[in-house]
Symmetry: C2
Subunit: 477 residues, 2 copies
C-alpha cells in the first residue's frame, strides 16, 4: 500500500495525500452514526488528477486483488445515510472533491451554469444570484454540502414542488469512470436523444458507478416577489385538498408547501422560546405555503388572498396569516427549519425519510399513527415534511419521560419495519431524498423489487466490474 500512496503523492502533490494526520473530518459521518478508518484521504486538484488517481487505484486493485482496495468519493460529508465515509477496513481511499471548487461558466442566454463537484451549494446559489438568476436547489446543509454530493445523492429540499430534485436541474455531467476515463457529458442541451441517458444513471448512484467531477445546471429568472403564508388545517386530508387548490390558484407560482404536525410545532415552541410559532394550538397540522411571483408583490398577495378565501370557504383551512414583509416570511421558514433541531433537543428519535402518492398520505398517516400508538403506548410522532412532493419526515420519538437511547435500542428495528411495511402497502418509498448509503442497505434488499435489484446489480457489474467504487453502498454486490 505504501507504493500506492507514493504514486498518489506524485500525482496530486505531497500535501494533498493525507494519511498520518487526524482524518476524523473525513472518517466520521455527519449524523455520527458510524466512524471509519481511511487508508488515506486524497484531494486531487482537477479532473485529470481525479482520473489519474482512479487509474492508479484500479491498477493496484488488479495487481493485488487480495488487498481489496477501494475508493469512497466524498463532497461536503453531509450524507444522512453513511454514504460518503470509509468503512473500518483501512483499505479505502477517501477521494475528496473539495479542491474542485470552480464555477467554470455561467451562460446567461442559455440559462445554465457549469460548476465543479466540490463547489459548496451556497456558493453556487450566490454565483447565480450575482448574475441575476435563481439556482433553486435549497436544503438545510447548503452551507457545507457540495454540488457533486447533491448530484450523487439526487438531493431534494424545499423547492422540489416547482423545480424538481437535483436530477431535474441537471443538463449534463463530467464523470471519471471506474476505469479512470473521463466522460465529458457536460452539455447545456435541453434536448439530446443520442442513446442511453448516462447522466441520470450517475445521478443518485451515490458514487458507486464513477465520480461526478462537474455538472451543467439549469438557472431560472429571479422571481419579482416571494410571499409566505401559514395556514391551520383541520386534518391531513384537508392539507391535501389545500394543495390541490394551491396548484389551481397559484400555478407554477407555488414553490413551497410544507406540512407540520402539532407535536413537531410544540417542540419548536418548547425548545426555541425566542421563536413565535403561529396558530399551532388551533389544529392538528399547519401548512407553510410559498408563492413566487414573476410580476410583483402586490400581485402575489392578491393571488394568495384569492387562494385563502377559497380555502376558508371550502373548510380545508380554518385560519391563516400571510407574512407582511420579508422578515416575517423568514421567521415562518425559521419555525419550519427549526423542527429538526427541536427534536434533537428533545432527545434522539427514529427518523424516516419516506414518500407516498399524495393521495395516500392521509390514510397512511391515520393507520400508521394508530399502529404505532398501539405498539408503543405514549409514543410521540414528529411528523413534518414536503407535502407538495409527497415527502414526509415521519419521525418517532420516545414517550414522555422515557430515555431516548434506551427507546432506540429497544424499538428501532420494530418501528422501522412497521413504518416501512406501511409505506410499501401504500405504494411509497423508504428513501425519498436521502438515499441508501450503508444505513438502508439491508432495508433496500427487503423492500425493493427483486427484478429491479437484479438489473441494478447487472449495471454495477457492467460499469464497475472490480467493485472499486464505494463498495457496500446502495448494493451489497
Amino acid at each position: 500500500m505504501q507504493n500506492l500512496l507514493s504514486e498518489l503523492r506524485s500525482l496530486v502533490g505531497e500535501t494533498h495525500v493525507l494519511s498520518e494526520e487526524n482524518l476524523s473530518a473525513w472518517e466520521q459521518d455527519w449524523r455520527k452514526r458510524a466512524r471509519g478508518k481511511a487508508l488515506a484521504v486524497v484531494l486531487p486538484g482537477n479532473t485529470a488528477e481525479v482520473a489519474a488517481v482512479v487509474q492508479a487505484c484500479a491498477r493496484h486493485r488488479a495487481q493485488h486483488p487480495d488487498q481489496h482496495l477501494s475508493i469512497v468519493p466524498q463532497g461536503g460529508n453531509t450524507s444522512l445515510v453513511v454514504g460518503a465515509t470509509p468503512d473500518e477496513s483501512g483499505r479505502q481511499i477517501v477521494l475528496s472533491l473539495q479542491r474542485l471548487n470552480q464555477v467554470r461558466a455561467l451562460d446567461a442566454a442559455n440559462q445554465t451554469l457549469t460548476a465543479e463537484a466540490g463547489c459548496v451549494l451556497q456558493a453556487v446559489q450566490e454565483h447565480a444570484l450575482n448574475a441575476g438568476y435563481l439556482f433553486p436547489l435549497s436544503l438545510a446543509a447548503e452551507g457545507s454540502c457540495t454540488l457533486g454530493g447533491n448530484l450523487g445523492s439526487n438531493a431534494g429540499g424545499t423547492q422540489v414542488l416547482r423545480f424538481g430534485n437535483t436530477r431535474e436541474l441537471c443538463l449534463g455531467l463530467e464523470v471519471v469512470t471506474a476505469q479512470g476515463e473521463v466522460w465529458n457529458g457536460l452539455s447545456g442541451l435541453r434536448k439530446d436523444n443520442t442513446g442511453y441517458d448516462l447522466r441520470h444513471l450517475f445521478i443518485g448512484s451515490e458514487g458507486t458507478l464513477g465520480i461526478i467531477t462537474a455538472a451543467t445546471m439549469k438557472l431560472y429568472p429571479l422571481p419579482a416577489a416571494q410571499l409566505t403564508a401559514w395556514a391551520v388545517v383541520p386534518s391531513m386530508q384537508a392539507a391535501v385538498t389545500l394543495l390541490g387548490l394551491a396548484h389551481r390558484h397559484l400555478g407554477a407560482g407555488l414553490t413551497g408547501f410544507e406540512v407540520m404536525g402539532q407535536f413537531a410545532l410544540r417542540l419548536v415552541d418548547k425548545h426555541f422560546k425566542q421563536l413565535r410559532v403561529p396558530l399551532w394550538l388551533d389544529g392538528p397540522f399547519c401548512v407553510l405555503l410559498e408563492n413566487s411571483d414573476h410580476e410583483s408583490e402586490a400581485h402575489a398577495r392578491l393571488q394568495f388572498e384569492g387562494l385563502l378565501e377559497a380555502a376558508l370557504t371550502d373548510g380545508c383551512v380554518t385560519d391563516a396569516v400571510v407574512a407582511e414583509n420579508l422578515s416575517q416570511a423568514k421567521a415562518l421558514w425559521q419555525v419550519r427549519e427549526s423542527i429538526s433541531l427541536a427534536q434533537s433537543q428533545e432527545g434522539l428519535n427514529i427518523k424516516h425519510d419516506i414518500s407516498l402518492p399524495i393521495s395516500n398520505i392521509p390514510a397512511f398517516v391515520q393507520s400508521t399513527d394508530a399502529a404505532l400508538a398501539q405498539a408503543i403506548p405514549g409514543v410521540r410522532l414528529v411528523n413534518f415534511g414536503h407535502l407538495g412532493d409527497g415527502n414526509l419526515h415521519y419521525n418517532v420519538q420516545a414517550p414522555e419521560g422515557v430515555d431516548a437511547a434506551a427507546f432506540l435500542r429497544e424499538h428501532e428495528p420494530k418501528v422501522n419495519s412497521l413504518v416501512f411495511d406501511a409505506v410499501t402497502y401504500f405504494g411509497g418509498s423508504i428513501s425519498a431524498e436521502h438515499g441508501i448509503g450503508s444505513l438502508k442497505l439491508h432495508q433496500l434488499v427487503h423492500y425493493k423489487s427483486p427484478v429491479a435489484l437484479t438489473m441494478m446489480r447487472s449495471i454495477k457489474r457492467a460499469l464497475d466490474p472490480h467493485n472499486l467504487m464505494n463498495p457496500g453502498r446502495v448494493l451489497s454486490v
Copy 2:
C-alpha cells in the same frame, strides 16, 4: 420457426399472431425510408402476455442461436428514424403494443395518470382533459403515436420549454425485461432515492433494453387562458434576446417559443394559399410565443403587452400581433405546423433534428448557412424549430429548379457531415428529439464520445446479453 409461432399463438390467441397476411402497416416506416420483412406480428393483450411472448422468444433464441431471432417493439409506428420496423431478415418478431390501450387510473389528488403503452397520445390528453387536467405532451403525430413509443424515444414536441421532454413527465414505468420478467416500477412518487434510476435508463432506449408496457405520468392543472403572439425579429440573435425577455416577463407562463425562418414561411405561403402567414416579408425570422395563464385571459394579455412593449423598445422585435381569440391563435399555430408539409410539397429535403446551447444558435446558423451556401450555390434552408429548447429543424432544400431526388443522392452525406460537424463544434446534439433508430446509427458512432459509447454497450450487454431486443438500433453491438 413454425414451432415458435405455434407457441406464440397459444400464448396470445390465434388471431393475434399475424404472419400470412399483408403486414405492410407494421413493416413500412412512417417516412418510407425503409421496408422490412417480419417473421410475424404479435399483438399481446396485456403485460403478462408480453412477458410470456418475450420468454418464448428468449428460449427460442437460446435453443437456436443460429436463427438470430429478435424482437422489435412497436407502438404507433411513427418513428422518424426507422426505429420500430423490422429489418429485411425475416427473423424479427414485431411485438405490437396496440392492444395494451387502457388508462388504468387517474389520481386527481396526486396529479398523475397511469396508462398502458399502446394508448394513443391524443387519447391520453383527452382522458386528462375530461378530468379537468392537462397532460402537456403534444406533437404532430399525437393522433397515432403511442405513449410507449413516446417514452421509448423520449419524444419532445411543442411544450418542452415549460414541461420538459417525455422523460420529465414520467414518474414510473412497468417494463418487461429482455428475460421476460415484469418490473413493476409504476409509481406516483415525485421523490424516490432507492438505487439507480432504471426509469430514465429505459426511457429513450428505443426498445433495445426491454419493453415499456405502462407508465405513470404527471398531470397539471388546466390553464385559465392561453394566448398566442407572433413577432418579427431582425435576426436570430434578436430571437434569443426576446426569449430571455419572455422568460423574465412571463415566468412559467411561457409555454411555447417557436422560431421560423423566412424561407420556411415563404413555402407555407406558396403551398397553402388558404392560410394567412402574418408579417413574414418583414424580417428574416418570425417567432410564435404562447403564454399560458392560471389567472385569466385579461391577465395573460396584459403580460404579453408588457413583454412586447419591452421587446419593441429593446429593438429585438420590430413588429408583432397578439391573437384576438382562440381561432386566431389556432391559425397562427397552423402556420407553424404546416411548415413540414409545405417543404414536402416543395420536394424532398435533407432533414436535421439538432439541438444547441441557445447562446450558440446565432453563431451556428450564421456560419452553417454560409458554409452550405458556399458548398452548394443556391441551396435553400428551411430553418425552424423550438428555439426555447435550443432545438432546430435545420433542413436543407435543393436550389430552385433542381430535382430533389438527384439533389439528395448527390449531396446528402456531404450536407450531413457539414451540418453535424458544425453542431459538434458548437456543443450540440445530432438528434434532439427523434432518437437514433437505425437511420443515425453510424453517425452516432462517429459523433458520440467513445467513453459514452463504451458505457452504453456495457449496459446493453448487461441487460440484454443475447441481443434479443431491437438489435441494430441505437447501438451496433
